[in-house]
Symmetry: C2
Subunit: 266 residues, 2 copies
């Protein structure tokens, strides 16, 4: 039986997604837990695959992993969440034998958060529109050999909430660091440090100027959309995750308030 899990994680607690020797990674922790519970023996033999190898520091609300198991009884969100730390299983689905969470994905949604430094949001919106559609994103990505640099950005929406700016990006797939580099370009636009013309030139490869990536801690892989996926989650796991998210929210709000007071006092 092949199972897919929808997982959330706090990226600041890991050395990235991909398993590595001697450091705590998201994939490493998930595999270790599945092995400990006897759900899989070996990631290779169980054809363990992740949808997105998010960079160090990047969080996810809806990354997806899949694996074969002959022992699916213990592979429930409730049991897995009991053993995982800083990772939450937020859905489970039985999938076809040939399901690969990366190649089966129809769309990916990313969210990038910025503290509002007095941005020109109209300029940001105008620049955002330039990225929509199909372009060669070579100047907005860390290029990998043999990868097609042409991608399609379907939607970019910018919303203001709680003194923050949140940008949401929807596309079929993105190049390495592409979301963070576009996010940085939009921030530079909003500060008047990058013009629409410069972006147009970079997208048309008339300029070889590159935009560096914005910090990873502000990025969340929000959702991966599949044509026929229906992830399920039990009530108990929802309530437990909600309590834990509220605790993390509270701790962060208090830390923000402490440092704001320190800033005001200096």
């Amino acid at each position: 039986m092949r199972i897919a899990l929808k997982i959330a994680y706090d990226g600041t607690k890991f050395f990235g997604f991909q398993r590595q020797k001697d450091v705590k990674t998201v994939e490493g922790e998930i595999i270790r837990t599945l092995q400990k519970l006897g759900i899989i023996e070996d990631p290779k033999r169980s054809n363990f695959k992740g949808a997105s190898r998010t960079d160090r520091g990047v969080s996810a609300f809806g990354n997806v992993v899949a694996f074969d198991t002959e022992n699916p009884k213990l592979a429930t969100p409730r049991i897995l969440n009991h053993h995982l730390r800083d990772i939450w299983v937020l859905g489970i689905a039985q999938v076809p034998e040939d399901f690969h969470p990366r190649y089966a994905a129809k769309e990916k949604v990313y969210r990038y958060y910025l503290v509002d430094e007095g941005f020109d949001l109209e300029a940001m919106e105008r620049c955002a529109r330039l990225f929509l559609g199909t372009h060669n994103f070579s100047n907005f990505a860390k290029l990998e050999e043999f990868k097609n640099p042409v991608r399609t950005v379907k939607e970019i929406s910018i919303t203001q909430k709680n003194g923050l700016i949140m940008m949401e990006f929807v596309g079929e797939s993105f190049l390495w660091e592409m979301v963070r580099r576009i996010a940085n370009a939009l921030k530079l636009c909003a500060l008047g440090l990058l013009s629409e013309e410069e972006i147009r030139d970079m997208l048309e490869l008339k300029s070889d100027k590159k935009v560096p990536p914005a910090p990873p801690e502000n990025l969340v892989l929000w959702e991966i959309r599949y044509p026929n996926a229906s992830f399920e989650l039990d009530e108990y796991s929802i309530e437990k995750a909600k309590r834990e998210f509220f605790e993390r929210f509270s701790a962060a709000v208090i830390k923000a308030s402490i440092f704001r007071d320190w800033l005001d006092a200096l």
Copy 2:
């Protein structure tokens, strides 16, 4: 020459203030840095003293340490801050040879932060007034042998800001866990779970009920007041600390926003 330093630190990054073997503590890091720079050789010989041994998790904006040195040239906030992480030297003063930062203190100020869960602030204010003045705080402290449990609370102020409640406590000195236990009592009052009468009984030792301490991460040792201290800080160190406090503030605000979105989405 004896020198006193006013120091801030993020308590979530340390195993408490007091030096311990094999774990990162505030005092341990400061001593290590002073030794590395040749400012002191040995904490005992240089009569190194801290004002307040804050518990694990507790932060400070204004704790104070003092030590003798024959090499005061490198003991500047600018140089020390270059070497310290998660600790900031926010003031320096030359002090008398017999200066002990704990016994010389005239008053201490603590701040406790709470996420507003729909508190009854009037009830909180009424309960706060009961703690003012001189009482036997045995039921609101972790008692230590040979310590006088009678203390004087001079002021408690409660303010609401940014959706949070901040309580400020001023007193000559406080018992172990006393601020966190009073903070918890006030929170329980504000939720209707503890009455004024119960608090009065506990303060008059008519009840041996004890209130457990509220979490340490929400507590900041805000200030220690001395009769004649005048800590100085150079412009460069102020600007550097401001930048770093803003970075920490931003990271926390973004983390809060991420977890709030996760909470809303479940």
